[in-house]
Amino acid sequence: MIAWMQWTLPTAIFFATIAAILLVMTVFEVVKPCVERKGFLPIATTRGDRLFIGLLSSAYIHLLFLGLTEASLWIALAISVVWLGVLLRWG
């Protein structure tokens, strides 16, 4: 039934991580609703907005690494995680 989806371990981990992040954010939101605020980004954002911006820009960081360099993707991942943290805290 799901054989056609051709799951692999890395992609399963990837989606599980995303799902976990979403779950944590949702629970966090219910427990402690977030207020929109203005950080270093040009627009006022909520926690969810910053998460989305962070994930989308992380995807682009990875693509830049793949397209322009031969460097390991772990570096891109590290940069993305740091960037995501910075964005969530001060964005």
Binding site: W4, M5, F52
Partner: protein, 268 residues
């Protein structure tokens, strides 16, 4: 006066240009292939219904129209049924993740159908829906549902929430209020959403063609068969094209009074 005359002239000229290619298709559909290929005539010299007769007497031709109609209708019904409550929720309530859910829905309207081509084919094959009308209808929901939610949300936001509150005080249950009072109030919005769902499902071919082979083949896919060993059968191709324009004309006629607000998606 001269100013408004100039305006009138300008818009008439534009509409004539707009209709010219369609006229040419119509013109060709009434010609014989011999006339089409031998000389350029501005109207049919030997007026013939032969090309239309070919389509209306051959089930493998007219089935294409029937298939397209079926999946478009199923799509419009599904789209409206699921979009109405969702649009109401988005318009009236704040809930966890509402804005992100809304953008996620719209992002599916933005996704190029070509991106989903392969997995759709695999998905519908694996659940045994390949080459059925319902498969195409569901696939078209991908871009029609987000659009319908967006349009309906605009229209519903135009209805003051005092109506909802009054209905509660009068003792209406939510489903009864929704069907008896609310839906009649936003009928023009529903008409416009149905129009858009019809439009985008009717004109789409890439997904419809990929998800069907014989039993649910849309007219657009059947039209490619006019290319034969002896070249293209221009007359029949033109006639088939003309026939695909007619359902759209009928639908736009029904919503003509709401076209202006409708095309602004209820958000002016």
């Amino acid at each position: 006066m001269t100013h408004s005359k100039r305006r009138g002239f300008g818009i008439t000229f534009y509409i004539l240009l707009l209709l010219l290619p369609i006229y040419w298709l119509l013109n060709m559909s009434f010609k014989t292939n011999q006339e089409i290929l031998s000389s350029l005539t501005l109207w049919p010299q030997n007026f013939t219904f032969h090309n239309y007769a070919v389509i209306f007497t051959d089930p493998s031709w007219y089935d294409g129209y029937i298939n397209s109609m079926i999946y478009v209708s199923i799509n419009v019904v599904i789209t409206l049924l699921v979009s109405l409550p969702a649009a109401y929720a988005f318009s009236r309530y704040k809930f966890v993740g509402d804005k992100h859910l809304f953008f996620w829905l719209l992002s599916n309207r933005m996704a190029p159908p070509a991106v989903f081509l392969l997995p759709f084919f695999q998905l519908y094959s694996s659940i045994g829906l390949f080459d059925t009308h319902i498969a195409v209808a569901l696939a078209h929901c991908l871009f029609n549902v987000p659009l319908a939610v967006w349009i309906l949300e605009g229209f519903i936001s135009g209805v003051p929430r005092e109506y909802d509150e009054m209905a509660y005080i009068d003792g209406y249950s939510f489903p009864r209020f929704f069907i008896k009072i609310f839906i009649p109030m936003i009928r023009s919005g529903i008409g416009v959403s149905a129009f858009f769902a019809f439009m985008f499902s009717w004109v789409e071919l890439l997904l419809a063609r990929t998800l069907t082979s014989v039993d649910a083949q849309p007219i657009g896919a059947i039209m490619t068969r006019t290319v034969g060993a002896s070249g293209i059968d221009w007359g029949v191709l033109a006639a088939a094209g003309v026939l695909t324009i007619i359902p759209g004309l009928l639908v736009v006629w029904f919503v003509r009074n709401h076209v202006a607000t409708g095309f602004a998606l209820g958000r002016v």
